[in-house]
């Protein structure tokens, strides 16, 4: 028996050596994970340095993006990233909340698993598929049926009216937000469902015992109990939306300007990089794109870190699906 070899004293030194080697290998691998994040941050900083040194703070505040005159400012992509992600969350949060409630409190047992798996599969579909689908299916539908209605009915409104002016392009900020929303729904609802499941049954039962309706139990017992986890899940979805590349690149139109209308084409940080990086000539151009990447890294890192810290308290087992 091979395993018994360990007991034989003659083999002890060899065993100890292997033990040390194996332990060293696992530790080294763990360090790789640690160093990787540092390496990513460092390489982005180094690559972005020429752009930051050349444009100083102006890089953050200028809207211009002109490869011909070598003038670059990150304001339009930053604006696009923030606006699309914000709108996507606005659309995705209520739907995800509903799905999570349905899966934890409403669905009969036989329906729970298939529906849960279907929603998780939606998360497994690669983002480029969402992009192709968004461009060829969703954008024409929005252009023909939804955007004219929006322009006609929301355009004349005071305050928010200017957001919905202009011709229905089909592609643009609003369409990108829509596709992003569909993409982050499975992530947010998976986290919310896992968080809801951590609510002790006895709490809910005492709510029912007092005569509360299902909705009252959800709103007054489950949601307050799971508040941190809900926020954590939303921020995880935000991190996803901020950094999402392919789905957005297809439908946003890649226009480096800040349009007042949500129907107009725009750009995001990741879409700019995806569209232009491989073709960027000139050091300053490349460096400016990497600088965009560094900004994206900074933004998403803070959001994800905050989300993970919030979710940390819930224990890791409950969140294995994200």
């Amino acid at each position: 028996m091979n395993t018994l070899a360990a007991i034989d004293p003659r083999h002890a030194p060899a065993q100890r050596l292997r033990e040390r080697l194996f332990q060293g290998a696992t530790f080294a691998a763990a360090l790789v994970v640690l160093l990787l994040l540092g390496g990513v941050a460092l390489s982005l900083l180094v690559g972005a340095w020429p752009a930051f040194a050349h444009f100083k703070l102006g890089f953050l505040t200028r809207e211009i993006w002109n490869p011909v005159t070598d003038q670059y400012g990150a304001l339009a992509p930053i604006y696009g990233t923030l606006v699309t992600s914000f709108l996507a969350l606005l659309l995705a949060i209520p739907v995800s909340f509903g799905i999570a409630i349905f899966l934890t409190e409403l669905a009969p047992v036989w329906l729970k698993r298939p529906v849960g798996v279907a929603i998780e599969l939606l998360a497994a579909v690669p983002s480029i598929i969402y992009g192709v689908w968004g461009l060829f299916v969703l954008a024409p539908v929005l252009q023909r049926h939804v955007q004219p209605w929006i322009i006609e009915h929301l355009g004349p409104l005071p305050l928010i009216g200017p957001l919905f002016h202009g011709p229905p392009f089909g592609i643009g900020v609003l369409t990108a937000s829509f596709v992003l929303a569909i993409m982050v729904i499975p992530f947010i609802s998976a986290v919310m469902r896992d968080v809801f499941e951590t609510v002790p049954d006895v709490l809910k039962e005492s709510g029912y015992g007092l005569g509360a309706t299902t909705w009252e139990v959800i709103w007054q017992v489950v949601v307050p109990y799971a508040r941190t986890g809900i926020v954590g899940g939303i921020m995880l979805g935000l991190g996803r939306a901020l950094g999402e590349t392919m789905a957005v690149t297809f439908v946003i139109g890649n226009a480096h300007r800040i349009g007042s209308s949500l129907l107009a084409p725009g750009t995001t940080i990741s879409a700019s990089i995806a569209n232009e990086f491989a073709e960027a000539v000139g050091d300053l151009y490349t460096s400016s794109l990497i600088a965009l990447g560094a900004l994206l890294f900074l933004i998403t890192f803070s959001v994800i870190a905050a989300a993970r810290l919030m979710l940390l308290r819930l224990g890791r087992r409950a969140l294995s699906s994200v």
């Binding site: 007991i7 696992t26 690149t249």
Partner: protein, 282 residues
């Protein structure tokens, strides 16, 4: 009485809306799948798997792209998988309570949700600039970096499921820790670890952003991993955004291929997991 009615009404309304939300989620999954099948199947023929990506206007297939995707995914998982498994082993066994493990877990979680285009930029700086040109190996490394955190997480979770009694029994036999891990814990957690690897493969085989400026694309058959190589996601990206109908058709077929393989992988991974945890309600 009317207050009671109101409460009931609110209840029915809220629960109805949550059912509606679920229907919306399922509708989009259905809509996407239907479009893929409808538009993708039209281009599925033997030629899709035997011919190279064509120039605009002439017919062709996706052979070089399929080959490239498989090669890069395999190399990616061969690099990222073992490192991830070892790191997961450290977190679950040797460093379970070490302070550095808390940091590593946190960093791993951040990497798990980091935008993949950032990883692409990183590998561009790390490899492409050094080598002076785009290459399949750079693409594979980018994929490995994305696969690694997935593997770390699932390996750690799965090793933690192995009963402490089994580990103690092995230790009591006089086995060293490495022997316990390789001869007792790994076999006990095998299907779980395989699941993690399957999920990692599913994750990286559809990744596009990190390949855009690492592996780039190649219109021709190439087996040289030091040179640019075609791959399905980037081909879908370029062909999908092109104005040529035959390219767009190939993009749809490629999209169908990728999605079907990823869905099969994900479902397979879930079946393995559910056979592992009887009584789990998911």
């Amino acid at each position: 009485m009317s207050r009671r009615l109101l409460r009931k009404l609110v209840n029915v309304l809220a629960l109805g809306l949550s059912g509606l939300a679920t229907a919306i989620g399922l509708f989009f999954l259905g809509a996407i799948l239907w479009t893929l099948i409808h538009s993708g199947l039209a281009g599925v023929s033997l030629k899709l798997f035997t011919a190279m990506t064509p120039p605009p206007g002439s017919s062709g297939g996706l052979l070089n792209a399929i080959y490239g995707s498989v090669v890069m995914t395999v190399i990616g998982i061969l690099i990222g998988g073992p490192i991830g498994m070892l790191a997961g082993t450290y977190l679950a066994e040797y460093g379970r309570t070490a302070r550095i493990s808390t940091v590593i877990r946190f960093v791993n979680d951040v990497l798990l949700s980091a935008p993949s285009i950032i990883i692409g930029l990183f590998v561009y700086e790390l490899l492409v600039i050094r080598m002076g040109h785009f290459s399949a190996i750079a693409g594979a490394v980018a994929l490995a970096i994305i696969a690694m955190p997935v593997t770390v997480r699932t390996t750690e979770d799965m090793l933690n499921l192995v009963p402490q009694g089994m580990k103690d029994a092995s230790t009591a036999m006089g086995a060293y820790h490495w022997r316990t891990i390789t001869s007792v814990i790994y076999p006990a957690a095998r299907s779980g670890i395989v699941t993690g690897l399957l999920l990692a493969v599913a994750r990286i085989s559809g990744e596009t952003a990190p390949l855009l400026f690492t592996a780039l694309n190649n219109q021709f058959w190439s087996t040289n991993i030091a040179a640019p190589m075609a791959n399905l996601p980037v081909v879908i990206f370029q062909f999908g955004l092109s104005p040529y109908p035959n390219w767009q058709q190939l993009a749809w077929s490629g999209a169908l291929l990728i999605t079907v393989s990823i869905l099969i992988l994900s479902i397979a991974a879930r079946l393995v997991v559910s056979s592992l945890t009887p009584g789990g309600n998911r």
